[in-house]
Amino acid sequence: MATQKKIVQAQLDGVTFDGTVPFSNGLIERYTLQNGLSVIVLVDKSAPTVSYFTWYRVGSRHEKPGKTGLAHLFEHLMFNETESLKAGEFDRKLEENGAETNAATWVDWTYYYESLPSDRLGLAVQMESDRMAHLVLRDPQVTSEKEVVANERRFRVDDDVEGAASEILYKAAFDKHPYHWPTIGWMEDINNFSPDDCAAFYKTFYAPNNATVIVVGDVKTKDVIAKIADAYGKLAAARIPAEDYQHDPPQQAERRVVLMKQTPTPKLIIGYHGPALGDAEHVPLSLLVEIMFGGRASRVHRSLAIDLEIATDLRGWVSTFRDPGLIEMYGTAREGKTAEEILSALDEQISKARDELVTDDELARAKARLELSLLRSLETAAGKAEQIGFYATVLGDPAGAFARLEAYRRATASDLRIAARRYFVDNARTIVVVTPELEAEEEKAEESAAQ
């Protein structure tokens, strides 16, 4: 391996070899182009395919009020016209070559990917480098994609009970920090974007020095680096502006929001302010939330769904954001049960987490479940590339998934209780209660009758 890397370096001006990192049973190799583009390669010969991910360090946190949803709109616009490709040709060329392609946006990042037969790697390199610098942003494509995104918002938020509640949770829990607004954007903002807004955003954030390319599959590193250097080497770096946002002051009092929805039963979402992904306590908190919510044997499921039979669909997770996010807890009431009953039972479990140590058996089970979850995510080249890209982008560590696995193994019951005491602070939580509209109308009618 060392010989090959030296050859690659020697042959390609403008490419710096940054080192290797073990990943599963392979070895990640890292390179940087002179224009700042990071490249990560993992050779994986388990299938004759290659996955090509481009992670941009831009997400909804980089937007401004009034322009929310712009980062996500790009997830659509980037599949349109470039200076050398007519609208529709991007997808057509990739499909003609058997590619799967898609994209995702969240608060801290946006990624685009192609998974192709491995002999088609060159096409992905060519097309991703093209749209990194030569996207055409004009009507009617911008207007049409705004319509598509508005429809996506209806489907994910406006007509979706959990989507609507989740949006309100973050809106209520954060005032100043950009996590306040949804990644898909407010509907009014989506409708008001102009091609000029898009062009300014593109010029600011879509540049080689704001991106990491991850290539995983049945490839030769030397060939990958040569192709990438050739396609991207001439692209200019951009001046990425310093982030300009404020953190919220510590929340001092519980916040509650009631949301009326067309839904058969009440729902409850609780959000405690949590750690950033890179904070040391993210690991013990994730283990604790796994013990509380992971699977049917978890504490919360066993208590609320099986023993008390007051809830169904119970879930909890710690947001995996670059800045401190939320520890979310979600529950759906059984027919005839209330959100207050769920809250009361959840509070018992939260108190228990703060007051008592988890058992050795609980901790061992949570560790095994999270190990399984990681292994499952690595079954395909795309799965590996996504894990590498996520940790490289958010934490700067492409093998962060395995570092995290090691951290899980080291965590103790005491670590979990300390984390619970620090983060399960009731004054610093936000609660969204979803009330069925029919139920609300009946209560109003009863109140009127009583008056």
Binding site: S24, E95, E96, N97, S144, F155, R369, T380, A381
Partner: protein
């Protein structure tokens, strides 16, 4: 790697797809018979019975099973179709012996405790109630009835059918369907043939020999006329729309021709539906068509989810597109393109050991031609334009479509009806009765 066959000494069919890329193993135990055997008034019995396997067995109650699986770094879930029920488990390979020991007891010595039966029925009842939040699921439930009527494929589990299921029904289902001849076992992942043979013997050791069970499903019959089924739900800003009819069978001579043609209509991101509905007009986030393949002819569906204001013109456009598709077929250029797409993207149908072994399971259980998967690429390459267009005309009948949607009737029903030429019938169904 080729899928290996390692049958047990008593004749249980066992497949292995070996892969040592990750320290994981996936184990699937699938029956040759499934929900088609549910009594109509007890639809849901196959799912209840299979799910109950995990709720107690010799030496372990439900809680013990769940904790043991977690401790082993394993997960298990059931999969239920009309043709088969399957218990699938995936786990970290270092614990595979303990996992198989547990699965062996789950399969061969389930408890089916009365309290667990009642508890599961209550859980599933609660889940059914929550389906009312999911407009797409509501539409799909109504669609089954609209396309298949009283046929087995038209049945859906209801709160009433769940309530009728008893412990004796569950015990009867298990006794009938779980035997050595009626199950097929598949291993995928970090295990060797010798290991798999031994694990398979252990896995089935508590089951009776039994016999394979025949499928009672008749061929479905096409319904005629354009029928609108409108699932009425308040306050919808968006609709869910399905246009559907009978589709294809794996045994049809024109099966692969129709698969290729359908991919042109709605099976890719550059398909006709996607281009016209999403790219040109921005009406729907998704626009697709598909042909489901089962043991009998299943459905052809086109699916969109436009805003309420765009629902009527979107249906009119889709009807135009399907009429044009049936009347004029596809072009040589389109066929050439889609063949490249389907052939080259086939690599992603077989890029994991689990996917490869499931292809072997399909052939063994679904009664499809033996070369259905292995010959896929060659058969797609061999599709000819004339044959594809004959297949489209023969199988897709725009005059006999069911149009099933979820929306708010007071807002859009009249416009939707006006957008459907030759509409034969209209049913408006309250969403909480679907």
């Amino acid at each position: 790697m080729t899928t290996q066959r390692l049958d047990t000494k008593d004749g249980t069919v066992v497949f292995l797809e070996e892969s040592h890329a990750l320290p994981l193993v996936t184990i699937t135990i699938a029956t040759r018979s499934g929900a088609a055997h549910d009594p109509p008034e007890k639809t849901g019995l196959a799912r209840v019975s299979t799910r109950l396997l995990m709720r107690g067995c010799e030496g372990a109650d439900a809680r013990k099973i769940e904790e043991t699986l977690d401790g082993l770094g394993a997960e298990a879930a059931e999969e239920v179709s009309h043709a088969s029920v399957a218990l699938g488990a995936q786990g970290i390979v270092r614990n595979v012996d303990a996992l198989v020991d547990l699965l062996s007891r789950i399969l061969g010595a389930p408890l089916f405790a009365e309290a667990e039966v009642a508890r599961l029925v209550r859980e599933m009842d609660a889940d059914l109630l929550e389906v009312r939040d999911d407009d797409r699921s509501l539409a799909e439930r109504a669609l089954r009835k609209a396309i298949f009527g009283d046929h087995i494929f038209g049945r859906v589990t209801t709160r009433a059918s769940l309530a009728k299921i008893t412990r004796e029904d569950v015990r009867g289902f298990h006794a009938k369907h779980f035997n050595k001849k009626n199950i097929v076992v598949a291993f995928a992942g970090d295990v060797t043939p010798d290991q798999s043979r031994a694990l398979a013997e252990k896995l089935v050791s508590r089951l009776p020999t039994g016999e394979a069970i025949a499928d009672p499903t008749p061929e479905p019959i096409e319904k005629t006329g354009r029928r609108l089924v409108f699932v009425d739900k308040p306050e919808r800003t968006q609709t869910q729309i399905f246009l559907g009819a009978l589709g294809t069978s794996a045994k049809d001579d024109d099966h692969f021709s129709l698969l290729a043609a359908d991919a042109i209509l709605g099976g890719s991101f550059t398909s006709r539906l996607m281009r016209e509905v999403r790219s040109k007009r921005g009406w729907s986030y998704g626009a697709s068509s598909r042909l489901d393949v089962a043991r009998r002819r299943h459905w052809f569906l086109a699916h969109t989810f436009p805003a309420a204001a765009d629902a009527a013109p979107c249906i009119a456009l889709e009807l135009d597109l399907i009429e044009n598709y049936a009347a004029k077929g596809i072009s040589a250029r389109e066929l050439s393109f889609i063949k490249k797409f389907l052939v080259r993207s086939y690599a992603f149908e077989i890029d994991t050991a689990s996917k490869r072994v499931h292809q072997a399971l399909d052939i063994e259980i679904m009664d499809w031609p033996a070369d259905y998967h292995s010959g896929y690429v060659a058969k797609i390459k061999a599709v000819e334009l004339g044959a594809a267009n004959v297949a489209v005309k023969a199988r897709i009948h725009p005059e006999n479509l069911a149009i099933v949607m979820v929306g708010t009737a007071a807002q859009i029903l009249d416009k939707v009806k006006a957008a459907i030429p030759n509409l034969a019938s209209t049913d408006v169904i309250p969403f909480d009765t679907v």
